[in-house]
């Protein structure tokens, strides 16, 4: 990178999130405290154009910015659409097929027509390397460098664009992988190359090979895209620093993102959770569920004790055919299929909602694109919760008759009237999502009922009140600009480096000196990376954790380790901490039984200055008269209620309203049910106290 330009006078921070449908921009001016938003359709094939449109929409200029933060679906789309590079895999002799064999599981147990994951690298492009390490890192068989060189030279004729390297036990000793990578770089200059230990230093060879292969597969395309974007920004006069958003929600420099592209897979959804965390911090809420529902999926993340829950690996693609990615990520769960879920009647009058979805083509019946089966969106329309004239800010008129016709077909088969059927379909979708959200929390020993639900995404505010009521959640919060939330969240991201090292040791036998050495090694690497970044963070923070289990158990649990544990070198406190976490997570603990460490984890954060909260003008409890756009019938419980529809832009801090009511804004509608109380707080959030009665 060029030397740091003088951008000290610039105070603008721009964040752009490219999603499947829309590209969103959020910009924050530190000097004025002003927050701006922009939105444009994502332009497939020329993503940079979408960014340009959001800049115009928000009326901000990149040459005023000192920071450009960016998340994109390019990595995950490249993976899911299989549009990545022609990739070769170099792997320990004897293990060429482990990437294809996988974990041999067959989740769809009674289905003879099941399928399994498909590797990103064909068998004929997977090559074995003569070498072998043992589990303790010792050399069992020396790396045959000449053989590697001969092999790599032969790849030159095969138009290989990218190379992944996985050698067994490289998490313990990366020397062989490092050498193989060097040889590839020497023999195939210009080819993208990625070694597994650079991404994951945890055991489990299938998960690691899948991770490194995915990185190599998406790498050339993502790197080219980031390069193009960087050039474009520079040509537009941008002189600041360009950071990409990782699946942890943390930032890393773009030159780093170009090598470790797989870390960007879930950048948008992760940034949404960071945004939810920022709002919780402002309001002093320790525990929240971040609920994000768009047109095609609903997702949830969890914030516990002020921190988002993360995971050490995730499965990308449907479970049955998923490719595992073993890197630290925000723990985000799919909890539903969104507004496009189809309602169908099967044998025995069985009504099902989803998992089939109308997708975007033909889409719900009311889109008028030829869909004839009712969806959750059609149900919302018939129940008066969506406005046919104001959908997506009026960008798309909805066809009520088409929705009614589709609904009637299903209703007739069930012997119900169409409205009852619509209400039923909605209720089924809501309860299914509520079970999924509950599962996310109970799986971790948390009580969802005690959490606040922070809701965003176009379809989130439409369903939030009902889902919260099902779960027993008392408070729902719709932030300002729920439709731009991922971009907004990026403004609160910190620089972040995550490290994990496998370390199989019984706790009683390991010394704090040994642990300190490993942690220090990881932390020094993170501190050096942050020190090398152009933007100086406010401070550097280090978080330590360990994956631990009772001796004999297979499954490990991640235990956050406070600093004083290490200051006092207190084995007993260490053990107690594990017992406590185990008890919370699983309901049981065995203080008398020995435990062991599986991996050590460190996160090094370069803490960035956070945008100051933006406030909205104060108003009385009663909103101004012009806040109500219309009063219309909306179905709640068992009948239509005359329901006022408020325009969000007219609501002021302090406004207090009782449901039923709707609040409309550009790309989203908030439903406040009878019995719910809505208050607009001073930051413009809609805070809904959920009534206890179920509608």
């Amino acid at each position: 990178m060029a030397a740091a330009p003088d951008v000290t006078s610039n105070t603008l921070r721009i964040a752009v999130d490219i999603g499947g449908t829309f590209t969103d921009l959020a910009a924050f001016d530190e000097a004025t405290g002003e927050l701006r938003f922009g939105k444009a359709l994502s332009t497939h094939g020329a993503l940079v154009n979408g960014i340009q449109h959001t800049l115009l929409d928000a009326d901000v200029k990149v040459d005023d910015a000192y920071l450009f933060l960016h998340g994109s679906t390019i990595a995950i789309n490249t993976l899911l659409e299989r549009s990545g590079a022609k990739t070769a895999l170099l792997i320990t002799e004897g293990f060429r097929d482990i990437y294809e064999i996988g974990r041999v599981n067959r989740p769809d147990a009674y289905n003879l027509f099941f399928s399994k994951h498909e590797p990103l690298v064909r068998r004929s492009l997977r090559f074995e390397v003569p070498e072998r390490l043992r589990a303790d890192g010792a050399t069992h068989r020396k790396l045959d460098e000449d053989a590697v060189r001969t092999l790599v030279k032969s790849l030159a004729d095969r138009e290989i664009e990218s190379v992944a390297v996985l050698l067994l036990h490289s998490y313990r000793n990366p020397q062989h992988e490092i050498r193989v990578k060097q040889i590839v770089q020497e023999e195939l200059p210009g080819v993208f190359v990625s070694a597994s230990h650079e991404l994951s230093q945890e055991y489990r060879e299938f998960e690691r090979v899948s991770t490194v292969a995915a990185n190599a597969y998406v790498g050339p395309r993502v790197a080219a895209y980031l390069g193009e974007l960087e050039d474009h920004l520079q040509a537009s006069g941008f002189k600041g620093t360009f950071y990409a958003v990782q699946s942890t929600g943390g930032l890393f420099p773009v030159e780093h993102a170009r090598r470790e592209c797989v870390r960007m897979l879930e950048s948008g959804p992760a940034a949404g959770v960071i945004g939810a965390q920022a709002i919780c911090t402002q309001l002093g809420l320790p525990d929240a569920i971040a609920f994000d529902m768009g047109g095609t999926t609903a997702k949830a993340g969890v914030i516990s004790e002020g921190r988002p829950l993360t995971t050490g690996s995730a499965l990308i693609g449907g479970y049955e055919r998923a490719l595992p990615i073993q890197i630290p990520m925000m723990d985000i769960f799919e909890v539903g299929t969104g507004g496009g879920s189809l309602a169908r009647v099967g044998e025995g009058n069985a009504l099902r909602v989803g998992p089939q979805s109308a997708g975007s083509m033909p889409g719900p019946a009311c889109y008028g694109r030829g869909g004839t089966e009712p969806t959750v969106t059609d149900a919302n329309l018939l129940l008066g919760r969506l406005d046919p004239e104001h959908f997506l800010g009026g960008a798309m008129a909805l066809d009520v008759e088409a929705a009614r016709k589709a609904m009637s077909d299903v209703a007739d088969r069930l012997g119900l009237d169409p409205i009852k059927t619509a209400e039923g379909i909605l209720r089924i979708a809501i309860t299914a999502m509520s079970y999924a959200v509950k599962a996310v929390t109970t799986e971790r020993g948390l009580d969802a009922g005690a959490f606040t639900m922070v809701v965003y995404g176009g379809a989130g505010p439409l369903h939030a009140s009902a889902i919260a009521r099902e779960i027993g959640i008392k408070r729902v919060l719709i932030p300002f600009a729920p439709g731009h939330f991922s971009a907004f969240g990026m403004l609160f991201s910190d620089l972040r480096y995550d490290f994990v090292r496998s370390c199989f040791r019984k706790l009683a036998e390991v010394t704090f000196e040994e642990l300190e050495d490993i942690y220090r090694g990881m932390e020094d690497e993170g501190r050096a990376a942050i020190a090398g970044s152009v933007v100086r963070p406010e401070s550097v923070r280090v978080e330590r954790a360990a994956d631990m289990r009772y001796v004999g158990q297979e499954h490990a649990v991640t235990v956050d380790l406070p600093e004083d544990l290490f200051l006092n070198a207190d084995h007993a406190a260490f053990k107690r901490r594990f017992d406590e976490v185990h008890a919370v997570r699983y309901g049981t603990s065995s203080p008398s039984e020995a435990c062991e460490i599986v991996s050590l984890r460190t996160t090094v954060l370069g803490v960035m200055a956070k945008p100051a909260p933006r406030t909205v003008p104060e108003g009385g409890e009663e909103p101004t008269a012009d806040a109500v756009r219309i009063v219309k019938p909306v179905f709640f419980g068992d009948r239509f209620h005359d329901t006022p529809v408020y325009s969000r832009t007219h609501l002021k801090a302090g406004n207090r309203l009782s449901g039923p009511l709707l609040v409309e804004e550009h790309a989203s509608t908030t439903v406040v049910a009878p019995g719910d109380e809505l208050v607009v707080d001073r930051f413009g959030n809609l805070v809904i106290a959920i009534g206890s009665a179920r509608s």
Partner: protein, 595 residues
């Protein structure tokens, strides 16, 4: 008109909401069991089943763990009800048994059941079976009666109200080799059933007892309706097929015949298993419950494969003829330790019988074995006994009429079962995995090809004893509709650098391997479907380029000529296919490859 009596009908919306609720309950039971379990057979291999049952012991919903245990828990709950009588099962009680002739499986399957009471009334049962790593008994040998297979716990109460029967726990702990793990798994199972109880009560509180129990009935009717509709679509007729097991591990080479008869009339099906072999001396028997499960698993795969929850309604139009004393309806004291192996072949044989009737709904034969060797020895790291199963290897699945078979995937006994990462094995046990790969040419040829089997070679870094109980070495996974058979399962032993001469079967019991010695496990492929000469030559050439099929096999079985650099020779292929059947192809294949 307003005086018309209102039946408290439950609307389809409520039914669907309760269906989702029941699925959520059994999912959470499963999650809690997996996350608290102590052994990888539960955590990774998912050798367990959790479920909710009616007060008559009928299945309401079972959370998918072990598909083959589709029947085992319901029958165990029924046996427990019959043993005590409903009136003697009180709130807080937990009943346990591992009786092999009740569960239909082996003694490792400890099954705990808790009654679910709501406002003083019994409304359902929550139940959890899980596989314990060790239950005592002979280690590493073929057993010939149940008494040598470990501790037997008849139906007893583990807990009466809130008082745990500590004497029972002490007896169990003294009779198993790894008591800490057994007790850890026991606690995990209790967590699972108490979760089931709590969540089911919440559901009843939320929607009302009548709605929930009424919805349970309706859901069973719905499952039945789907099963009947899909059965109706099968042509009427009587369909038969047979296959065999290699042997029972005692009388080596003595084949064990498997014959099945399926009769389909209207929307009913009868599966007659009377002609499956008599019970055998070696430990490959399973109980009556598993005999019924064979028929039910096959039936579910054909009629309601993706319908959940699994409930008893799905099987109302299935009749099973299952006399006692067969190898899948064995009687005390016939040994049962490897209960899971033969039933898989019974299921595949049912598919084989129906292949002519519904070719597009069945698959050709699969490898039908877990290929899961056990080793035990003393760990040099800590001087303690270790017992570990290394697998399942995953094997080939049969081709379907319009799809190739899937490679290296777990057999039908198991579902979401994971193998063990080699890096994890090597970190914990004194072994070195030399190779884990696909077996070239192991799949059956056909218009659609079978999936490939796998192969693993494991070296001893310190001495250990090896036990394999693998079948289907001789009875190869069969092709359908003219498709070719696949390679069968197999094993090998290497001592002092020499692979031993071919073994008579794939069963060895407690054989000691020294440092540097190794064993090899091989899983079979899947059978092919349809005439191999009808397979698109480009697909064959692609299989050759990818190394799934050798050039010789492409020539011999598919009549396809592929050049040494992987290109399809269109003319030579046409000529070869035209001449196919006029010579054996063996010599010509040799020439082609040599040239």
């Amino acid at each position: 008109m307003s005086t018309e009596p209102q039946t408290p009908a439950i609307d389809p919306i409520t039914v669907e909401i309760i269906r989702n609720g029941l699925l959520a309950v059994t999912e959470e039971m499963k999650t809690n069991l997996m996350r608290t379990a102590y052994n990888l057979i539960i955590y990774e291999a998912l050798d367990f089943t959790v479920g909710l049952f009616t007060t008559k012991g009928q299945t309401i919903s079972i959370g998918l763990g072990l598909p083959m245990f589709i029947r085992g828990m319901a029958e165990t709950v029924k046996a427990k009800i019959a043993h005590y009588g409903l009136e003697n099962i009180h709130p807080g009680d937990i009943l346990v048994t591992n009786d092999a002739y009740t569960t239909g499986s082996h003694l490792n399957h400890f099954t705990f059941t808790q009654p679910i009471y709501f406002e003083g009334e019994l409304v359902a049962f929550a139940c959890c079976m899980a596989h314990w790593l060790d239950v005592g008994g002979t280690l590493g040998q073929v057993t010939t009666d149940i008494f040598s297979e470990g501790i037997q716990i008849p139906i007893v109460k583990y807990r009466r109200g809130d008082v745990v029967n500590q004497e029972l726990v002490d007896i169990i702990a003294m009779n198993v080799r790894l008591p800490e793990r057994a007790m850890g798994d026991l606690r995990a199972q209790i967590t699972a059933i108490t979760t089931g109880e709590r969540r089911f009560v919440e559901l009843v509180k939320r929607y009302g007892k009548d709605a929930v129990l009424g919805a349970v009935d309706i859901l069973m009717d719905q499952s039945e309706a789907i099963a009947r509709a899909n059965t109706r679509a099968i042509p009427d007729g009587v369909y038969e097929a047979e296959s065999f097991m290699d042997d029972d591990g005692v009388e080596v080479g003595q084949r064990v015949p498997i014959r099945v008869k399926v009769e389909k009339r209207g929307d009913e099906m009868t599966i007659d298993l009377s002609d499956v072999s008599r019970q055998v001396r070696g430990f490959y028997n399973s109980g009556f419950t598993t005999g019924i499960a064979c028929a039910q698993v096959a039936f579910k795969c054909l009629t309601t494969p993706t319908e959940y929850p699994v409930n008893d309604g799905s099987f109302r139009n299935l009749k099973v003829i299952m006399p006692m004393g067969r190898v899948i309806s064995a009687e005390r004291p016939f040994p049962m330790r490897v209960w899971m192996t033969y039933p898989m072949t019974v299921i595949d044989t049912i598919f084989k019988a129906l292949a002519s009737a519904i070719p597009d709904r069945v698959a050709a034969g699969h490898h039908a074995d877990l290929v899961f060797p056990n080793i035990h020895g003393v760990s040099p790291a800590d001087g303690r006994l270790f017992i570990v199963g290394i697998g399942p290897l995953g094997g080939g699945w049969g081709a379907k009429a319009n799809e190739d078979g899937v490679s290296a995937t777990v057999c039908i006994n198991d579902g979401d079962t994971h193998n063990s990462p080699s890096e994890q094995l090597e970190a914990k046990y004194p072994v070195l995995v030399e190779r884990y790969s696909l077996r070239e040419d192991s799949a059956g040829a056909g218009r659609t090809r079978g999936g490939l089997g796998a192969e693993m070679v494991v070296q001893a870094l310190s001495p250990f004893s090896l036990t394999t109980r693998i079948d289907r070495m001789h009875c190869k996974p069969w092709g359908l509709d003219g498709g070719g058979d696949a390679m069968g399962n197999g094993i090998g032993i290497r001592r002092n650098g020499q692979w031993e001469a071919e073994l008579p079967n794939a069963k060895i019991f407690g054989v000691r391997l020294g440092r540097g010695d190794a064993y090899m496990m091989q899983s079979g492929g899947g059978g092919g479907f349809g005439d191999a000469l009808a397979r698109d030559p480009e697909k064959v050439a692609d299989d050759v380029r990818e190394g799934y099929v050798s050039r010789a096999a492409a020539y011999r079985h598919y009549g396809v000529v592929v050049t040494p650099d992987g290109a399809l020779d269109v003319e030579a292929t046409a000529a070869r296919r035209a001449a196919f059947g006029q010579d054996s192809g063996e010599d010509a294949a040799f020439e082609v490859i040599a040239g």
